[in-house]
């Protein structure tokens, strides 16, 4: 087991290095850079000399290999560099937004598990009844519905319903307050985007729970449990659900890593200042440093989540042993 963990951690290095090379090269292929964007973006005449000075200052005229060395070297000195757009340290820019995005991701995951496991169970146990069909329609709709549209509908619903009930329309607050400072203010802002992203996420997990449980319910040990007169509830909870959780955990893990992608659009709808929004801005501004670091962060989260899911497997199913 120890050897497996070390191996897996070592294997992360080439993948991350590959991701670094990929993002570095891809960004340099783009026409235009942050200096042209900043100076010519205003539509006014841009002095080519001023652009050249700006490029020199940001090190954009250095050989590519030197730029790449700086990018990778930064990880050894724990210096992520400065944003080419705001000139602030990237670690600071990411830090202030990370809390919001992480909280949102965790809330969406929590909500989705809360919805998915009971619904998936009902759907499997009552297979081919109206309840099953209702749950399946609900989950297929969740996969088809863009989370940003659901976000717009939620805001619309809030505006119309508060207008009808209280006389004044209410919108979720725009400014982020940490959870421990003002729990009500924090939740009243983040619960809505968490719902919008969580629904899609729940839809995927519901389908997985249903199909995994259906397979387990056909196993012999379930028939044995029925034969010895165990209560249906106990069979589902203790025997079936526990064994059906393996693929569900995978889906939850993978979706958690993908939440970052979902957040890109949801943060835009709810006007949240999180990592997703930072990413879109960095891409639009050709802020190479920021885009590189954000891409690496997403890749790192993704790889670590996959690794943790694999470890969780062994814990959930003692038959799985990593050697």
């Amino acid at each position: 087991m120890y050897k497996y963990v070390v191996n897996r951690v070592l294997l992360m290095i080439p993948t991350l290095l590959g991701a670094a090379v990929l993002v570095f090269l891809v960004l340099r292929l783009a026409p235009g850079d942050v200096c042209e964007m900043r100076m010519a973006g205003t539509g006014l005449f841009a002095d080519p000399e001023a652009i050249a000075i700006c490029q020199d200052n940001l090190g954009l005229n250095d050989p590519k290999i030197v730029q790449f060395g700086r990018f990778i070297g930064g990880y050894f000195t724990a210096d992520l560099g400065i944003s080419m757009w705001t000139a602030q340290p990237i670690s600071h820019e990411i830090e202030v937004r990370f809390k919001l995005s992480l909280q949102l991701a965790l809330m969406a995951t929590f909500l989705s598990v809360l919805i998915a496991i009971p619904l998936g169970t009902i759907s499997a146990v009552k297979q081919n009844t109206w309840m099953d069909y209702a749950v399946r329609t609900f989950s297929i709709a969740g996969i088809a519905m863009p989370s940003f549209w659901l976000g717009i509908l939620i805001i619309l619903g809030l505006l119309i319903s508060t207008q009808a009930w209280f006389g004044t329309p209410w919108m979720p607050p725009i400014y982020y307050v940490p959870l421990f400072e003002d729990p009500m203010g924090n939740l009243s802002q983040l619960i809505w985007p968490a719902l919008a992203t969580g629904y899609r996420y729940a839809a995927v997990s519901t389908r997985m729970t249903r199909s995994a449980l259906l397979e387990v319910l056909r196993e012999d040990y379930i028939r044995t449990a029925h034969a010895k007169g165990l209560l249906e509830k106990l069979i589902i909870r203790r025997h079936a659900l526990k064994n059906a959780m393996l693929p569900v955990v995978t889906v939850i893990g993978i979706e958690f890593a993908f939440l970052m992608g979902g957040l890109v659009v949801t943060e835009q709808v709810f006007n949240l200042n999180g990592l997703g929004k930072l990413f879109v801005e960095a891409v639009l501004n050709h802020d190479y440093n920021m885009t590189q670091q954000l891409v690496m962060l997403v890749a790192l989260i993704f790889i670590i989540t996959n690794f943790l899911v694999d470890l969780l497997y062994a814990w959930l199913d003692p038959r799985i042993r990593y050697a």
């Binding site: 080439p14 709709a141 890593a257």
Partner: protein, 298 residues
């Protein structure tokens, strides 16, 4: 066929009868899938004949009729530029389906060939290829698509490329695992013994045998591509104004006038949902038909 002596006309009747029977069987066995296929066909027809079934110009700005609620003249209302929403939703189907089909077909076809080649050659080629795919798979689809848009810029053609690229490794990974099993079947050895070239063995002998996972991926990709295009356009990084696209219709005016003119936000979103929903239903049914192992779970 036994009807060789019968003239051409009746043979045609027989084959069209067979198609009819297949369709009826498909509908009986997979009613939801048939509904999905029906919606897809309606969308396709709307996209193809958009010029004939609409009366307004999708890009025509009309300040006389801005933010008109749904009525007889404008069944789904108009937006903040006075453009008819029904017309734009219908033309939007053209954009969505073009992006959806082109990127799904190209992405999954390249993935198919690369995946089979990787399994066929094996060894070092396979190992290196798989590590490269790992790098691509370490990002959510939209992040990769955003990176491509950063390089190529916005616009319909670039969006197609941006969506196609992330599909390639996804399809290659799935197809490779099926192809690995096929490589072990003796007929591949037989083909090699006959002296066929590698490309002929890959394209003529192995590719047709991994069609089931390929087709399942393909339908799933069309739905995903429609959703991705809508997301990119919504972020302002996809299809650009004034081209009618569903995601784009949800940006700007739709949010600004959400309260006073909710129809601007509701109908394009409904179109996206319905489109993706249809491809998912059809894809699920197709998976049942093509992959008997999964049939018991449905």
């Amino acid at each position: 066929m036994v009807t060789t002596t019968v003239d051409d006309g009746s043979i045609e009747v027989t084959s069209s009868g067979r198609i009819k029977k297949f369709l009826i069987d498909f509908y009986r066995g997979h009613p939801l899938g048939a509904i999905g296929a029906g919606i897809v066909v309606v969308m396709l027809l709307a996209a193809i004949f958009a010029d004939f079934i609409t009366v307004y110009d999708p890009e025509q700005i009309d300040f006389e009729s801005m933010l008109v609620p749904p009525n007889w003249a404008h069944p789904l209302g108009t937006d903040n530029y006075g453009r008819d929403i029904l017309t734009r939703v219908i033309y939007g189907a053209r954009t969505a389906l073009t992006v959806g089909f082109v990127s799904a077909f190209v992405g999954s076809f390249i993935g198919l060939v690369l995946g089979v080649a990787s399994a066929y050659f094996g060894g070092r080629f396979d190992l290196i290829f798989q590590r490269v795919m790992d790098v691509f798979l370490a990002f959510p689809l939209i992040i990769l698509a955003l990176a491509v848009v950063a390089v190529l810029g916005t616009g319909t053609e670039n969006v197609i490329v941006a969506i196609t690229i992330p599909f390639i490794p996804q399809c290659a990974r799935v197809v490779r695992s099926s192809a690995l099993a096929i490589r072990e079947i003796p007929y591949v050895d037989a083909a090699r013994a006959c002296g066929f070239s590698d490309s002929r063995i890959i394209l003529r002998h192995m590719v047709p045998n991994v069609m089931a996972p390929f087709l399942i991926m393909l339908t799933a990709f069309v739905g995903q591509a429609i959703l991705l295009e809508a997301s990119l356009s919504y972020l302002g990084l996809g299809v650009q104004e004034p081209v009618p696209a569903w995601g784009l219709m949800l940006q700007g005016g739709a949010e600004e006038y959400a309260e006073s003119a909710p129809w601007i936000a509701i109908f394009p979103g409904l179109a996206i949902t319905l489109g993706v929903f249809a491809f998912n239903l059809f894809g699920d049914a197709l998976r049942d038909v093509l992959d008997p192992k999964l049939r018991s779970q449905q």
